[in-house]
Structures are given as C-alpha cells and as structure tokens.
Amino acid sequence: MKETEAIGLFKCLADKSRLQILKSLAVEDMYVERLAERLDLTPSTISFHLKKLSEAGAVTAYKNQYYMMYSLNKEIFQTSILDILRQESDEAQKQAQRDADYRQRVIDAFFEYGKLRSIPTQLKKERIILEVIAEAFEFDRIYSEREVNVMIADFHDDFCTIRRDMVGEGLLGRDSTGYWRVKKNG
C-alpha cells in the first residue's frame, strides 16, 4: 500500500459511521437499505459513506439480482500497520534529493579548485567537508601520520585539526600501527 493510499484509508476510517458500516460488512455482505436500517442512517448517507469507503479501497461492490451488494475488502485489512510503516515513503526520494542538493551547496561553498577555503564552524557542514576529504583515502590501507598530514594538507593547511576531527567523526580509524579509512556500516 502506497503512503497516499494509507493516508486515504486512515482518514476514511476515522469516522464512527464508516467504522459501523465496516463492522456490519465484517459480519456479512449487505446492500444500502439494509445498512441504513441497521445503523439508523438514511440510505443516501450510507451511499455517501460507501462511496468514500470504496474510494479508499475498504469495500467492494457487486450486483446480486436487484441489489448492489457491498463487501469488506478483507485483503486491505490484512495489511498490518507495521507493513505500512515499513513501506518506503513517497517523500524518501525527494528527501534524498534535498539532502544531496544541500551537500553539493556546502561543497561548492567551501571548496575552490579542490582546496578547502576554511573549516566550517557548523558541525553538519564540517561533517560533509570531512567526508569529501576522506574520499582521498583508500580503504584497507594503513597510512602513517605523516602520510595523512600530507594528504590533508593538499586540502587545507590546518591538517592537525582536520585529522583529529576525521578521527572524532569516525571517518578515519587510528591505533599504534597508523590510520585507515573507516568503512560505512550497512
């Protein structure tokens, strides 16, 4: 179920009369007049609610002799709410695009011809800058401190701060043997 469909369904269900209709249809298939009698509503009101319920995919209709019968769309109610929550959001792609655009704007603002103009004061921006610098390091290779300093110095003179922050941010690992580029989890 798509996010917009789930929202439509939840909106539709947030109504006592419609919930009563669904409860009746859970017992057996019914026609408009029968539902109207059972729920003490006018047939026109029942039709109104049934239209909304069928648009939300909660009920289906079929013809039986003279009557239009309505039945519960059991399939839709077998979907668990957790399944709906686990569905990728329609917004996810847009969010990812917005994040990528923001990242590019930060890179464009702080780098000029491959050199870092200044170290951003905002942590979020600094993290992006450090990720860019980390890309210069290969995975599965141990670097000496001197090598690290030289590589960072290609970007900015204050290699000590950057090296320390890269370790702090978990982009570089460090022990007695030297430094290495940390692989992202997942």
């Binding site: 947030a14 109504d15 006592k16 009369s17 509503l41 026109s44 009101t45 039709s47 109104f48 609610h49 049934l50 239209k51 909304k52």
Partner: protein
C-alpha cells in the same frame, strides 16, 4: 406580520438545531454527518436572508413577499439541481448526497412557506 415573525422564528430554530446536532455528531466522531448539518444550516441562513430581503423589498404586501420568496426558492437551487443531475449521471453518490441535502432543505423551507402564507395567498 405574525406569519413573518413565525417564519423568522422557524429559521432561528432550524439553524440552532442544525448547529446543535452538528456539534453532537462531530463530538461523536461523525465528522461528515456533522458537516451535513452545517450544509443544512447554511441553506436556512440563505433563506433567512431572503426573507428579510423580501420584507425590505415588498413591505406589508404579503402576496408580493410570498412571490418574491418562492421565486428565489426556485432560482437559487437551480444550480444545485444541475449539480445533482451531473453527479447522478456520473454515479457520484458522494456529491449526490451533498446536493440532495441542500435540495431537501429547500423543499422543506418551501413547504413551511406555503403553510405559513397559505396556498391561496
């Protein structure tokens, strides 16, 4: 004059009743049905305004007042009838219901008009 007051009182009572029922329905999580009551109340409001317009335009002439009122009661719902018919052709039960609420309310108002001002006036 007496009939005019009765008619005004009828509108007051109907609007009040709709608002009351609407509040109860909304409190009972029946939002759409609560809105149906608001729609009815709006129709009563429209015709209450027409009644005061009739009073302004026609003065003490009861026959002219009745004619003015019934004329408006034909003109105003014309677009609602068209809308209902369109909805019926497209089997749009939702829209049909909304339009029928308005049309039923106008019918009821016209009946009240006839009762108060009489068939013969």
């Amino acid at each position: 004059m007496k009939e005019q007051c009765k008619f005004e009182q009828y509108f007051e009572e109907q609007i009040e009743a709709c608002e009351w029922r609407g509040k109860l329905l909304i409190a009972d999580d029946r939002m759409d049905e609560g809105n149906f009551e608001r729609i009815k109340a709006n129709v009563y409001e429209i015709f209450r305004t027409i009644l005061s317009a009739a009073d302004r335009v026609c003065g003490e002439d009861v026959l002219a007042k009745k004619r003015f009122f019934l004329e408006k009661a034909e003109q105003i719902p014309a677009s609602w009838r068209t809308s209902y018919e369109m909805a019926r052709q497209h089997e749009d039960d939702e829209k049909m219901h909304l339009e029928s609420i308005k049309l039923d309310t106008v019918r009821e108002i016209k009946d009240m008009c006839m009762r108060l001002w009489g068939e013969s006036t």
